[in-house]
Amino acid sequence: MKLITAIIKSFKLDEVREALSALGVQGMTVTEVKGYGRQKGHTEIYRGAEYAVSFLPKLKIEVAVKSEMLGAVIDAITSKAKTGQIGDGKIFVTPLEQVVRIRTGETDGDAL
């Protein structure tokens, strides 16, 4: 199994979620994060003081999937979250050794 972590632009969440649902992904977890990257931030000025804000609001999506789903999920996220402009985000894939559904105690594939 794999844990897919995607950093995307906030307003793309609904599209991505729908695409994943369509693929049969039944769950995901979303976190509000701040991203630093090639996309430049902006300057905020409060009275005299100027602050360079280099962190931009992004969403992090975590989806645990069976390994065979990996490619399809990556494709779905890539196509839906893309605007073509700097700051669209990244997808990270890490190995997932074990999954448990707390409610039932089911594990691994059954727990997804």
Partner: protein
């Protein structure tokens, strides 16, 4: 003519009696010159307070009511717009607005005033204006301030229609042009008249001849149902349509970022509205008390009715529903405040809420315009219902206060349902047309020159950072 006797929320400036003396005759003018009335300090105190209350309605009242409803990325844009519009309109009012609304306009007098008091020329601590009671006056300078807040709030109300997408520069230009082309003339048409002293000592025709056009219809508008609410509602609709829908409208969630703030705003609107409604009586007497009580009761009834209908129709009574009901009730009672009786006010409140609810949920979806914060659905529709209902509820038989007939020594009369409702309808239609066309010209002009709308990236990122360089919250 039945119109001469209407009690109206406008008043003559004694200084203008020279002009009016054409019809008034020299005798009265001399009498006034002989013994000018002095303001009662209780009245003055009340009008000072009322003026402050109307400011409270805008800042922070309306700003929070609107601000809470937008997404947090646009919060500052709403607040900045409310604040800066208020500032601009106030300066404009002092420069030419007061004069355009409250002086004799000569040949154009039916539509708009003149420039004789531009830069507040001739207004000082000693000049006075009449109230609606013969012989009762208040300092003109207080009246200037009081009416100034009305001009400011009306203009600020409009921005709810196109919140979250209009350029700040466009808003600034709008806040100079719109009051000038639309608000000042309508205020003049509804509120400018020769005053009670003149009306009591002259034939009715002479009074009508010296008054603004809508006043001349015999229409009742105690505190600005037409001038403020219908007017702002139409302008907001025009602005919303010309500006186009928000990106993501109906597809993305656009939940209010803080209903807490919206509730605070609605509460302060209610609190401040007493300055608006009871203040429009211009005197601290039983009529101000009636306007206050009605403003409580209509609002309370509407604040119950909206969530009650939600409960029935959608299963849950919401805070936003209650707050929307409160605002709808306040809007509806505005023209009727000093005319309806308390039970009439309750009935009005029960009626206005479902009507507005129907508009903001059904009609708006049908016609697919994006009036972001429902200025049209609440202020225009609520204003129309209130304006028409005023013609009915003023009937003493229904507990209403009747209409003052100055030519009959101030007796309360009622011309009958049909003629009064027709007068009200004429006022409503005139306002809709003038405001609709005027707003079209103003927004059209801006659209063709500097443009109305922010760029797509700006709208996505939020107007706060892109237009104002700040964020509302850094928690």
């Amino acid at each position: 003519m039945r119109t001469e006797s209407l009690k109206k929320a406008g008043l003559a400036v004694l200084a203008n009696l020279g002009t009016l003396a054409l019809t008034a005759g020299a005798a009265y003018a001399e009498a006034v010159a002989a013994a000018p009335p002095t303001p009662d300090k209780g009245d003055t105190a009340w009008m000072l307070v009322s003026t402050i209350l109307v400011l409270l309605m805008i800042l922070p009242g309306l700003a929070l009511f609107y601000g809470g409803l937008v997404r947090s990325k646009n919060m500052l844009s709403v607040l900045t717009q409310s604040l800066v519009i208020t500032c601009i309109v106030m300066v404009v009012w002092a420069l030419w607005g007061y004069s355009m609304a409250f002086t004799d306009g000569g040949t154009l007098n039916a539509y708009v005033g003149g420039f004789s008091k531009a830069l507040l020329k001739g207004v000082d601590t000693a000049t006075i204006v009449e109230t609606f009671s013969r012989g009762v006056v208040i300092p003109e300078i207080v009246f200037v301030a009081f009416q100034m807040t009305f001009a400011a709030i009306t203009t600020a109300l409009v921005i709810g229609g196109f919140a979250e997408r209009m350029k700040f520069s466009a808003i600034c230009v709008f806040s100079v042009l719109w009051p000038t082309l639309v608000y000042f003339p309508i205020a003049h048409m509804v509120w400018w008249w020769p005053g009670p002293e003149f009306a009591s000592t002259n034939p009715a025709d002479a009074t009508v001849a010296g008054a603004g056009m809508i006043w001349g219809f015999g229409a009742l508008d105690f505190a600005g149902g037409t001038v403020v609410h219908i007017n702002a509602g139409i302008a907001a609709l025009v602005g919303a349509i010309l500006c186009g829908k928000r990106i993501g409208y109906k597809t993305e969630a656009m939940a209010p970022h803080s209903l807490t703030l919206t509730m605070v705003g609605a509460s302060l609107l209610w609190v401040g509205w007493f300055g608006f409604n009871a203040g429009s009586n211009l005197e601290a007497n039983g009529y101000a008390g009636l306007a206050m009580l009605n403003t409580f009761l209509c609002t309370a009834a509407a604040g119950i009715a909206w969530p009650a209908f939600e409960w029935l129709l959608k299963g849950k009574p919401s805070l936003l529903g209650a707050a929307s009901g409160v605002v709808a009730g306040l809007v509806a009672i505005t023209p009727a405040a000093g005319f309806a009786g308390p039970m009439g006010a309750i009935v009005l409140g029960l009626v206005v809420s479902p009507a507005c609810l129907f508009f903001v949920s059904v009609v708006k979806s049908m016609f697919k315009y994006d009036d972001s914060l429902d200025v049209f659905g609440v202020h225009c529709i609520g204003g129309i219902i209130g304006a028409i209902a005023t013609g009915i509820l003023v009937d003493p038989a229904l507990g209403g206060a009747g209409i003052v007939d100055y030519t009959a020594g101030g007796a309360a009369v009622y011309p009958g349902l049909v003629p009064q409702v027709i007068a009200q309808a004429k006022a409503v239609l005139t306002t809709i047309c003038w405001s609709g066309i005027g707003s079209l010209i103003v927004f059209g002009l801006i659209k063709l020159t500097i443009g109305l709308r922010v760029k797509e990236e700006v709208e996505r990122e939020g107007l706060d950072i892109a237009e104002h360089g700040e964020r509302a919250y850094n928690m």
